[in-house]
């Protein structure tokens, strides 16, 4: 179940057609189909919706994808190590509310408020990682518990309603017409690009990244190969929580104020970005794929809202599309091939 051959489509992987076989080999290394889906959706938008190719629309898509992609970064790391994180939404909301309250209501300096938010992220991630590793409790349940605990504490702290306003400069980070050092690209997109490069390199080029994959594929084997499985697992959860908190901080700028439910849509969306990208539970995939997944989902979201569909119809089409896209490359091997 955790071998990489499972990524190949078994209907063509049996050597029948050489061309398809070669394409399959490529698909395993490079997310060809994801790229193709992204290009097809974008071209479809260009040809059916007026003004889809404008810079404004492109930046709107990119800003949206950046936030989703950053939220999906932590989920990617946790999924690669063989876990799952259902507390991302709570960390996003927490980061968001902490910044808005401390800066907006209590007039802290931004640096101090960010430090507090990150500390909460580190602490929460540690609880997730330590409890699920040390006590071998299903990560799904632990992260749900931490999620309830954290959002409950945040709710109590602000007595039920967020009143804070995010510092103005945060808004410029996520504005679609923002500039980075005078270049006309929204800063959050640049931040995402830098984070993507760093995470991509760490995952594929460093020992820490290799440990992550080894732990995800087989914990016992990784332990025998002298990987510190406990640290790898716990750090993965800390990274996820911290990244989610950062998304919350950025979202405070995006929405302008604190909001205890702002993270909720990311609960399933961050997972959807990972899945559409083609990263599978336990050691298969990388962050580049999640980047593509976030882009695909953001283009789809824009296409659907541009077509003025109801949010219900948008949901139904999104769900169906994810299934179709993942069906192209992300299926399990046949049972009879696994014996």
């Amino acid at each position: 179940m955790t071998t990489d051959t499972a990524v190949a489509d078994p209907t063509t992987g049996e050597g029948g057609v050489p061309l398809l076989h070669t394409l399959n080999e490529w698909q395993r290394r490079v997310p060809l189909l994801q790229l193709l889906a992204l290009a097809a959706l974008y071209v479809y938008g260009l040809s059916t919706i007026e003004g889809f190719g404008s810079q404004r629309v492109l930046y709107a898509i990119l800003v949206n994808a950046s936030l989703l992609g950053l939220a999906g970064a932590g989920q990617t790391i946790v999924v690669l190590v063989g876990g799952i994180d259902f507390s991302i939404a709570a960390f996003i909301s927490a980061g968001n509310v902490i910044i808005a309250e401390l800066c907006g209501t209590d007039h802290w300096s931004t640096g101090a408020a960010v430090a507090v938010a990150l500390a909460v992220g580190v602490l929460g991630g540690l609880v997730n990682g330590v409890l699920s590793y040390r006590f071998k409790v299903e990560p799904l349940i632990v992260t749900l518990g931490v999620s309830a605990l954290l959002s409950g504490l945040v709710l109590k702290w602000i007595n039920g309603s967020a009143t804070g306003v995010a510092p103005a400069w945060l808004g410029t980070l996520t504005a679609a017409n923002g500039t980075t050092f005078g270049i006309g690209i929204p800063p959050v997109v640049v931040i995402w690009a830098v984070v993507a490069i760093v995470i991509g390199l760490v995952l594929t080029r460093t020992r820490a990244g290799r440990n992550l994959y080894l732990t995800g594929v087989n914990q016992s084997a990784a332990r025998l190969a002298l990987v510190r499985v406990n640290r790898t697992w716990i750090y993965a959860y800390v990274a996820s929580a911290v990244l989610a908190t950062c998304v919350g901080i950025l979202l405070a700028g995006y929405s302008g104020s604190g909001n205890v439910t702002i993270g909720d849509p990311y609960l399933f969306q961050s997972l959807a970005a990972v899945i559409v990208g083609g990263t599978m539970f336990g050691g298969r995939g990388d962050y580049w794929r999640t980047v593509l997944g976030a882009l695909v989902l953001s283009v789809v979201a824009l296409l659907l809202s541009a077509n003025q569909l109801s949010s219900a119809a948008q949901d139904m089409i999104t769900g169906g599309l994810i299934l179709v896209v993942v069906g192209l490359y992300g299926r399990e091997r046949r049972l009879r091939d696994r014996i």
Binding site: I84, K136, G145, G152, M316, R333, R338
Partner: protein
């Protein structure tokens, strides 16, 4: 120390015992603080408010038991969809007879469950992927059917389900039905095959078990139970509840895990899920009884859930290590 060893032995053999003990403890505390809680006249109301979560937890169980990463995160939206179909489509059109409503709901539930099962077992999607998409699609469908204004309505038998049929609390029927169906199925080879498939699908396949068929049946059974949960929810709140779906999905899975069912498949029971759901329900109830500010209740709920799973794991794992 002996008592602890006994406890560990019990938990090692019966994974649901922890949830049972926890539920019992919480029941005692609840009753001590609020003697009216267990008063006979109160039973019907208590059981009715417990029923949706209880049945949702049981609905999540067969998919998880079927193994291979099996999980159904579309149970929450499915049961709210059924609730909405009853209030928005069936009742306003004069279809109020239980002999129409109940079969329709069960059929919708089982059919959607079967689609999930086919996606997982035949088309070989990862269960999380298939049911996440189902979750999104069904959630959208539920919002669509619900419309802009929240529909509401009820009829005599749904009121009885939330109250009582004569002396029998109506919710005993909704909570009891899944257990009876499970008991009946355990007289057939299906349940044994389900545990075999969940334990090791490749071995079960080699032994001649029709693995896809068993898995499809498991997801359909979960969908059928979700149909019952939808009826229970509808009779309790008498209105559409598209916004409650995420809450039920997550609580139901938490209840299954608390009930000692392994998310890896093959180990666990329906009874465990029921007891896990009872624990969660009683935790929430306790927070209401002691009049904790509602602002605190989410945090305390989270802390108690973490505490419960960690204590459960410490007791159960210690036993497992000792045996191994």
């Amino acid at each position: 120390m002996n008592a602890l060893d006994f406890l560990r032995g019990l938990l090692g053999k019966r994974p649901y015992a922890f949830a049972g003990l926890l539920a019992l403890l919480l029941l005692v505390v609840n009753t001590a603080l609020q003697p009216a809680f267990l008063a006979f006249g109160n039973w019907a109301a208590v059981l009715a408010s417990f029923a949706p979560l209880a049945v949702a937890a049981m609905a999540s169980t067969p998919a998880i038991l079927s193994g291979g990463g099996g999980i159904d995160i579309s149970i929450g939206p499915l049961l709210t969809l059924i609730d909405i179909v009853i209030v928005a489509n069936l009742l306003p059109n004069g279809l109020t007879s239980p002999f129409v409503v109940i079969p329709v709901c069960l059929a919708i539930g089982a059919a959607i469950g079967a689609v999930n099962g086919v996606l997982v077992a035949v088309l070989r999607f990862q269960p999380v992927v298939a049911t996440l998409c189902a979750n999104i699609v069904i959630g959208g469908l539920a919002t669509q059917v619900q419309g802009d204004t929240v529909p509401s309505g009820s009829t005599s038998w749904t009121k009885d389900l939330a109250g009582s049929f004569g002396p029998v609390p109506g919710a005993l029927l909704t909570i009891g039905a899944p257990l009876v169906i499970w008991w009946a199925l355990s007289r057939t080879p299906f349940v044994k095959a389900l545990y075999a498939v969940g334990g090791d699908d490749a071995t079960a396949f080699s032994a001649g078990v029709n693995v896809p068929k068993v898995r499809i049946a498991a997801y359909s059974l979960g969908g059928l139970y979700a149909g019952i949960a939808g009826i229970a929810l509808m009779s309790l709140i008498s209105e559409g509840a598209a916004s409650m779906s995420a809450q039920y999905t997550l609580l139901a899975i938490a209840a299954v895990a608390l009930g000692g069912t392994s998310l890896a498949g093959g180990r666990g029971s329906l009874l465990g899920s029921l007891l896990g759901a009872a624990s969660i329900y009683l935790i929430n109830n306790l927070l209401n009884v002691v009049r904790v500010s509602t602002l605190w209740s989410t945090a305390i709920y989270g802390a108690m859930l973490l505490f419960a799973v960690v204590v459960g794991a410490v007791l159960t794992n210690a036993r497992r290590r000792a045996v191994a």
